[in-house]
Symmetry: C2
Subunit: 207 residues, 2 copies
DNA sequence: TAGATTGTTAATCGATTAACAATC
DNA sequence: TAGATTGTTAATCGATTAACAATC
C-alpha cells in the first residue's frame, strides 16, 4: 500500500524541515505541534496529520524531538543526499541562481552551466565555466548530474527539456514561463514567477 | 454576494491570460475550452467553470473570443493597470529580478532599488540607481510605488516587510525563505525557491 | 497519578468532475 | 435544423478540521 502523497503535504514537509533544522541548530531539542503551528501559521492538527503519514515521529505527552525530525524528514525529502545540478540558460535569472548560496546548504551542488551564446560560453560564473549546450549530454553524464534547471526563454524551453531527458536527467526545475512536457516518470517542478506576480496584481486590484 | 475566489482559480486565470494574449497576438480569434485545455493540460470543464465565475465570456456553440478574454481577464487580474515596483535587497537574486525583462511586458515597472550596503548604494542596475534603504519610505511615496519585492536574507525579511507596510505599500512579493507577517489587508505572495527545490528532491528520491 | 500531547477515526468543507440543459 | 460548445446544477472526490482515545 503506497499512498499517494499530495503536493500540498510535500510542500509543507519542506517548510517543517527548514524549521526543524534551524531549531535543532539553535539547540532546541523538543517542540510540540502547537508551537510548530505558531511559527508556520499551520494548524497543529494539520502538522500532526502530515507527519503521521510517514511514521510515528512524536512522543505522546512530550512532542517531537528535533534531531529525530531533521534526520527522518530529511531522508523523506531526499535532502540527506547530494544532488548535482546544471543550469541551462545563463541569462540574468540563470546567473542569479548560479550565485544563490542557499541551495548549497541543503546538499544541492551546482556542477555545470550551459548556454548556446558563444559570447557567454567559456566564461566563469560562481567558479563554474559555462559550457556549450551542444555538449550537454556528455557533460551531464560525466559529472553525474541529476537535476536540470531550465532558465532559457519560453520558446526554447521544450527543446532544452527534451535534451535533458535524453541525457538521463532525474528531475527538472523549470523557470521558463511555459508548460513543458516530459515523460511522467521525470519529476518536473515549475517556477512561474510571472504567474505568481499576476496573482499579486489580482489581490491588489481587489482591495 | 462577493464569492471568495480561491488561490487555485487565480493562478489558473493567470495561465489562461498568458495563453489568450499570445493567441490574440498570433491572430487567433476564437478558441474552445477543449483547445485551451490541450494547451495547458487542464480539463475543459475546469476552464469553463473558472471563467464562468467572473462572467459569461463565451459564445455557446462557438467558443471564446480571444480579444474579449484578453481585456476581461486582464482587467480582473489588474494587468491593464501599471504597477510600480521596488526591490529591497540588491544581491544576486534581487539583481537578477531587476534585469528580468518579462515583468515589464505586463505593466510591471521597476522604479526603485534599495539596499543597506554602502558598497552597493549609488550603483546602477538596469538603469536604476540603488538607494539607501533608510530612504525607503520617502522614495516609495514620491515614486508612487505599489509593490515591494523582498530579496534580503531571511533574518532581515520581517524588518523590511514592516518598513514596506509603513510606507503604504499595496502588495508584497517575498523571496526570503521565511514566513513574514503583514496586516491581512496587504496581499502577500511568497516565492519559496528552497521549498520548491525540496519537493523536486522528494520526487526524485521516490523514483 | 494528572497533565500534556500525539496519532487516528469520523465529520466537514471545498474543489473538481460528471451530466446535461441552453443556445449559438 | 443539426452540430458544437458554453454555463450550471448535482455528484464525487480529496483535503482539512473536529473529536477523542492512547499514552508518555
Amino acid at each position: 500500500m503506497k499512498p499517494i502523497i499530495s503536493q500540498a503535504i510535500i510542500g509543507r514537509l519542506a517548510l517543517y524541515f527548514r524549521l526543524f533544522k534551524s531549531l535543532y541548530e539553535d539547540g532546541v531539542q523538543v517542540i510540540s505541534s502547537e508551537d510548530i503551528g505558531k511559527k508556520l501559521d499551520i494548524t497543529p492538527v494539520q502538522i500532526r496529520k502530515d507527519l503521521a503519514v510517514f511514521g510515528q515521529f512524536g512522543m505522546k505527552g512530550v512532542g517531537y524531538y528535533t534531531s529525530e525530525l531533521v534526520s527522518q524528514i530529511g531522508n523523506i525529502l531526499g535532502l540527506n543526499n547530494r544532488w548535482n545540478m546544471a543550469i541551462v540558460g545563463v541569462g540574468h535569472l540563470g546567473g542569479a541562481l548560479a550565485n544563490y548560496k542557499n541551495f548549497e546548504t541543503n546538499g544541492f551542488k551546482l556542477t555545470a552551466l550551459f548556454d548556446k551564446d558563444t559570447r557567454i560560453i567559456g566564461s566563469y560564473v560562481h567558479g563554474i565555466q559555462v559550457s556549450d549546450v551542444r555538449n550537454l549530454k556528455s557533460i551531464m553524464t560525466n559529472r553525474n548530474i541529476q537535476i536540470g534547471i531550465i532558465t532559457v526563454p519560453a520558446p526554447e524551453a521544450q527543446g532544452v527539456a527534451n535534451l535533458l531527458v535524453e541525457s538521463g536527467v532525474k528531475g527538472i526545475w523549470n523557470f521558463a514561463p511555459t508548460k513543458i512536457n516530459v515523460p511522467s516518470e521525470i519529476p518536473l517542478v515549475n517556477e512561474d514567477l510571472a504567474m505568481d506576480l499576476s496573482t499579486l496584481s489580482y489581490h491588489i486590484s481587489r482591495e
